[in-house]
């Protein structure tokens, strides 16, 4: 009997043929990715491309079964490809050890696939692939897991809801004063240890901005200025790194002098317990008297360390990190490498983890906050999401089942499936697919590619000739890209500049937002295609829009549709497929950061979201997320926790 006997028989000839002819893109080769690749290969899919920028870590091996101990530090995409190839040499496999956000993976490249599977672990990359698949009009199967929970969703432009049709929770940030002056929870001290102290001493100190909100107002302006001076003083102490005095200098600076200064601000402690400074020599003396063995303490990461134990780990990890940085610096000097070596937090780098654990606990002790074990701190600082083989197997299997419907074009039959591991009557909770949200800033936009002669096209060509003349836009609208606003009626300085001078490149996106009060158009997303040779007539041409219509005859005949008028009458009815109408609730994963903080949904205006989702303002771009698939996450992946990577 031939190898695909079962597939042929159960799938039937037409579907089995479609499977064999399909070109698949799988983004992420982590937990779900390994399972998915195995299932795709054994279901007989003809061609599979794998993209993942991550390398294999020891903590992957409890579920990412295509990887072995000897593969640690190697590319996930490449190793997964090799492993899967052995089991079905007939399948065409291609691996890219790269970031899916790289420009080589442009809209045209996405258009080459029959469908895309997301097997990712982070919101950024998910949003990116969602956007690209919408732009390329390629169906996307989105999935994620957290512990025992998981979900699968089919995304097809204009037919089903996209990833951003529902508001996703954004990562928690903390006001800088909470972290630096008035912590009240363990997480505040952990963020301090990781994003302030570690990065000030061993990093570039710019990293800290990610999870700290530095916005100033009249109330905290003075305190923020003080904090700046404190950081400056810390930089001085940094120069003592490598000397035997360094641990004491640093300790007494951050745990004594800074605390004494903080305590002197009496207003701050009227309603709070004032912090109690610590003295290095005193604590060290007690530690010596209690005959603690450093190695025993460091081995015991499940137990909560006491003051003296934390000091020992603080001192020891500081010395380890200092030695490492010194060595790096010497190496850099020898090779005339201009980049300043840094050490950044990595949950799997024990030196940094020990340092963050001990330094955050010491701070907790000062502020009368509960201490945490290193095991717990690792989870809180590293944004660790539990991940197991079983859940990945279930979710990957469900993805492939949905892919059959996608191949047959049966989008209305697709399901949004949630695992419900603790519901006694069923383990799965399939909901009917959702329709696109007409207010979605990502998919309820008009999209078109525009061919641009980058050698001469100016912003004015785009604004006046293309948008106003060609598409019929009125006076009130704005043009922006991920770097920010480029044009609006009050921002006309850029008009005479060439697009290339404004940093606009081929394969990038521009968003046009119609601000007309009456009957505005939906947001328009332009995908810039650089023309290979200079264009003869006009420098900007639409590629996907129908040819110019007589705009004067009827102004509403713009090729860009208008926003639906509100209130909408097309509200999706609550799904009753399962007779309970709340399929989502069963599987709503809980925050895994263990600190009980509540995450607020930040619902911003339509306009603002549009810009953010396009890849976002400065901050977002700087944090450029990894398109890796380490730990397969769902809806609330970044929920309530702090950012890592």
């Amino acid at each position: 009997m031939p190898r695909d006997y079962s597939n042929h028989k159960s799938l039937g000839l037409p579907l089995n043929t479609m499977v064999k002819e399909a070109r698949i893109l799988m983004v992420g080769a982590g937990g779900i990715g390994c399972e998915l690749l195995k299932n795709l290969v054994l279901t007989g899919f003809g061609e599979i491309h794998i993209v993942d920028l991550d390398t294999i870590d020891l903590s992957n091996l409890n579920r990412q079964f295509l990887f072995r101990h000897e593969h640690i530090k190697k590319s996930k995409a490449l190793v997964a490809k090799e492993a899967a190839h052995q089991f079905n040499p007939k399948v065409k496999l291609e691996a890219h050890h790269a970031n899916i956000k790289d420009s080589e993976f442009n809209v045209d490249w996405f258009k080459g696939f029959t469908m895309v599977f997301n097997a990712l672990d982070n919101l950024e990359a998910r949003r990116h692939v969602n956007k690209m698949c919408l732009a390329a009009d390629v169906p996307l199967i989105e999935s994620g897991t957290t512990g025992f929970n998981g979900q699968v969703q089919v995304i097809k432009k204009g037919v089903t809801a996209c990833y951003d049709c529902s508001v996703k929770e954004t990562p928690k940030t903390f006001p800088v004063c909470t972290i630096r002056s008035t912590p009240s929870q363990p997480i505040h001290c952990i963020v301090w240890g990781k994003s302030y102290l570690l990065s000030e001493i061993f990093g570039t100190s710019e990293d800290e901005s990610k999870e700290m909100d530095h916005s100033e107002d009249s109330e905290n302006a003075m305190e923020i200025e003080k904090l700046r001076q404190e950081s400056q003083a810390l930089k001085k102490i940094k120069e003592a790194m490598g000397t035997s005095e360094f641990p004491q200098l640093l300790f007494d600076k951050v745990y004594k002098d800074d605390i004494v200064r903080l305590r002197s601000m009496e207003d701050m402690w009227k309603t709070r317990r004032p912090p109690e400074a610590l003295d290095y020599a005193t604590v060290l003396k007690t530690a010596e008297e209690s005959a603690l063995v450093k190695e025993d303490v460091i081995k015991d990461g499940q137990r909560i360390w006491n003051l003296e134990e934390n000091l020992l780990v603080f001192k020891d990890s500081l010395e380890r990190l200092s030695a490492r940085l010194q060595a790096e610096k010497e190496k850099a000097a020898a090779t005339a490498d201009s980049a300043e070596p840094v050490i950044t937090f990595d949950k799997d780098d024990e030196d940094t983890l020990d340092f963050v654990a001990a330094s955050s606990n010491l701070r907790s002790l000062i502020f009368g906050i509960e201490c945490k074990s290193r095991f717990d701190i690792k989870q809180m600082a590293g944004n660790i999401i539990p991940a197991i083989a079983t859940t990945n197997a279930i979710v990957a299997g469900l993805c492939v089942l949905e892919s059959f419907k996608v191949l047959k074009g049966e989008y209305l039959n697709t399901k949004e499936i949630f695992l419900s591991p603790f519901a006694p009557e069923r383990l799965l909770n399939p909901d009917r697919m959702r329709r696109p949200n007409p207010d979605c800033p990502v998919c309820s936009v008009a999209q078109t590619r525009v061919l641009v002669d980058m050698t001469r096209a100016t912003l004015n060509d785009l604004v006046e000739d293309f948008l106003r003349m060609e598409l019929g836009y009125g006076e009130e609208f704005s043009v922006s890209n991920e770097a920010g606003l480029l044009y609006d009626p009050d921002e006309t300085d850029n008009l005479s500049k060439k697009l290339s001078e404004l940093g606009i490149e081929g394969d990038s996106f521009l968003t046009v937002i119609d601000d007309n009060d009456t009957n505005p158009r939906v947001n328009l997303v332009l995908n810039i295609q650089e023309s290979k040779s200079p264009l003869d007539d006009i420098p900007i041409k639409a590629l996907d829009l129908r040819p110019k219509v007589d705009l004067d005859a009827d102004f509403s005949l713009s090729p860009i549709p208008r926003r639906p008028s509100k209130p909408k009458d097309e509200v999706e009815p609550v799904d009753i497929t399962n007779g309970n109408g709340n399929g989502h609730d069963n599987s709503t994963p809980t925050a895994t950061n263990g600190n009980g903080t509540v995450v607020e949904n930040k619902t911003s205006s339509l306009k603002r979201q549009a810009v953010e989702n396009l890849g976002g303002p400065e901050k977002r771009a700087k944090n450029a997320a990894k398109a890796s698939a380490d730990d397969d996450v769902i809806l609330v992946d970044d929920d309530g926790s702090i950012l890592i990577d």
Binding site: P2, R3, S6, K9, S10, E35, K38, N39, L42, S59, L61, N62, R63, F65, Q86, G147, F148, S184, T271, R272, A287, E288, K294, E295, I298, L312, K315, D348, E350, G368, Q379, I384, P386, A387, I388, A389, T390, T391, N392, A393, I394, A396, G397, L398, V400, L401, E402, K415, P421, F422, P424, E425, R426, L427, L428, P430, T577, T590, T592, G596
Partner: protein, 527 residues
């Protein structure tokens, strides 16, 4: 002693072990104890049929690190196997399937021991003699009737959980047969469900502390008033309510009125126009102002008479003591945790300590009762503490022999509800899938008529059902062939439940899960 440390050469600094690192992501779910249970487990897989679902299940157990597995299989590797089984390759052709799969599965995790043996005809009894061998037996259909009854007898005799699986075409099911009674202490309830504040039965320390905080509640300054923990707020107004009405608010209407009373006591002349702690108090009224009733699942444990062989187990000794505690106090031991709330840290810590002290006191009382049992001396105090903490959520799962329901009864019930579902276009029952697959338990390739007559033989009067007929046609069409994807998915669900059973954490399904890969639905039946 840093000096001493400095002298030691060279300092070998060891953080978490490699094992802890490898299993980090799962330890955060089932902890060290759960992991230890997995590592002590030995799973037997009696593999038959086309043999994929069993291997896929085993894969998900080898990865998280079970101690050992044994595979028994009568087959040798064929070309068809290579198309569906990921743990076989070209080089395995012609080899015994059990050995070939064992070799590739073992590569997944060097910490796991594994052996695979070619099963001779009637050779199963040789492997089912010593009762200490296996933690759980896993087998797949179709299987020959003799082997099936061997496994069932063995499981019953040695009280070993059995898990059977059947995957064919787009359909599958798995079924768990637990021996006698299967109690679970660590059920991992939802953290919001575990709040037990005892607001209607406060003990003296709590009452006094709360009263101290609310003594001059109306004259407190804005800050103090806005930082009274909501527990104290509710206790204060409950006392007033009782003084006025003679009893605590008990009906929904009374509680709503009480909530309004608390709400009206909130100061609104604040910059925010309200007080967070009062908001918390208002939100907590309906959930916390009630005497917790004894949960049905706990009552089941209290009422259950364990078999003689079980009665001296730690679980039942502690359960008996907790039952006595309940009889005496009319409430379970206090779990002792306090949810996050708006309060000054010092006050909050004091409050936590009051609840913790009471919880410890309750545990001590239960331990005292446990120690009176002849075998209670050796029971670890920590185990009693865990039991008390989870007392409201303990769960007993009974084997299929308890309160049996015939397949005919289930079928008739399911078909009746299908008629209603048809009226509004709801999904149909998956029970026909179980009936059709069950009819092919011993033979993979059967004709429609044969399957129907097999169903009819065990459950009369159901074969006229149109839905069942369609399902039977689909089963006949698959001819027992497995789709890798369906078997992988089924293996995922099965191994998930097996992990719950081995770790004795979380509540496993009771007891049959049927999966339909055409509609991506699963349904659970007790069969």
């Amino acid at each position: 002693m840093t000096e001493v440390v400095a002298d030691q050469t060279p300092p070998i600094l060891k953080g978490p072990s490699d094992k802890e690192k490898k299993y980090d992501r799962q330890l955060r779910l089932w902890g060290g104890q759960g992991q230890q249970a997995l590592e002590n487990a030995h799973i037997l897989l009696v593999n038959s049929g086309s043999g994929v679902v069993g291997i896929e299940t085993l894969k998900n157990l080898v990865l998280p690190g079970i101690g050992k597995f044994t595979i028994l299989d009568t087959e040798t590797v064929s070309e068809t196997d290579l198309g569906v089984n990921f743990f076989l390759d070209e080089d395995c052709l012609g080899q015994p399937r059990a050995e070939a799969c064992t070799a590739l599965l073992r590569e997944l995790n060097p910490d796991v021991e594994g052996e695979g043996h070619l099963l001779e005809k009637d050779g199963l009894s040789g492997y089912l003699q010593d009762h200490h061998l296996y933690t759980l037996i896993l087998f797949s259909y179709p299987i020959d009737p003799t082997s099936l009854s061997r496994i069932e007898e063995y499981g019953k005799k040695h009280r070993i959980p059995l898990v059977s699986m059947h995957s064919s075409g787009f359909y599958s099911y798995f079924r768990i047969i637990l021996p006698g009674s299967f109690p679970i202490v660590d059920t991992h309830p939802d953290s919001t469900a575990t709040t037990d504040l005892r607001l209607l039965t406060p003990w003296p320390e709590l009452s006094q502390f709360a009263a101290g905080l609310t003594k001059d509640i109306d004259s407190l300054d804005a800050h103090a008033h806005g930082h009274i923990p909501y527990i104290a707020i509710l206790l204060h107004y409950l006392k007033i309510w009782k003084d006025e009405n003679g009893s605590f608010p008990s009906t929904y209407k009374e509680k709503t009125l009480f909530r309004e009373k608390v709400s009206s006591a909130m100061r609104t002349d604040t910059p925010e126009g309200g007080e967070e702690n009062f908001e918390e108090a208002i939100a907590a009224v309906l959930k916390t102002v009630s005497v917790p009733a004894l949960p049905g699942s706990v009552k089941e444990v209290f009422d259950y008479e364990p078999a003689e062989i079980d009665a001296d187990s730690n679980f039942w000794i502690i359960a008996k003591a907790v039952k006595a505690f309940y009889a005496q106090h009319n409430q379970l031991p206090l779990p002792g945790s306090v949810p996050d709330m708006k309060a000054q840290s010092t006050t909050y810590v004091q409050l936590q300590n009051i609840y913790k002290a009471k919880a410890r006191q309750d545990v001590a009382e239960v331990i005292k009762m446990v120690r009176t049992h002849p075998h209670g001396k050796e029971i670890d105090a920590g185990e009693v503490e865990t039991f008390c903490k989870n007392a409201a959520f303990i769960k007993l799962i009974r084997g299929p022999d308890a309160s049996p329901q015939s397949l005919g009864e289930i079928a008739r019930k399911e078909f009746r509800s299908d008629e209603e579902a048809a009226a509004w276009g709801g999904p149909l029952s998956l029970f026909p899938i179980y009936l059709a697959l069950r009819a092919t338990s011993h033979e993979s390739s059967m004709m429609v008529a044969d399957i129907l007559s097999e169903v009819d033989a065990s459950i009369p009067d159901v074969t006229s059902n149109e839905h069942l007929k369609k399902v039977v046609e689909e089963v006949a069409r698959a001819q027992g062939g497995e789709l890798h994807n369906i078997s992988s998915l089924t293996g995922g669900m099965t191994s998930q439940e097996i992990i719950k059973i081995i770790t004795k954490q979380y509540i496993p399904i009771d007891n049959t899960c049927v999966f339909d890969g055409i509609t991506s639905r699963a349904q659970i039946f007790r069969t």
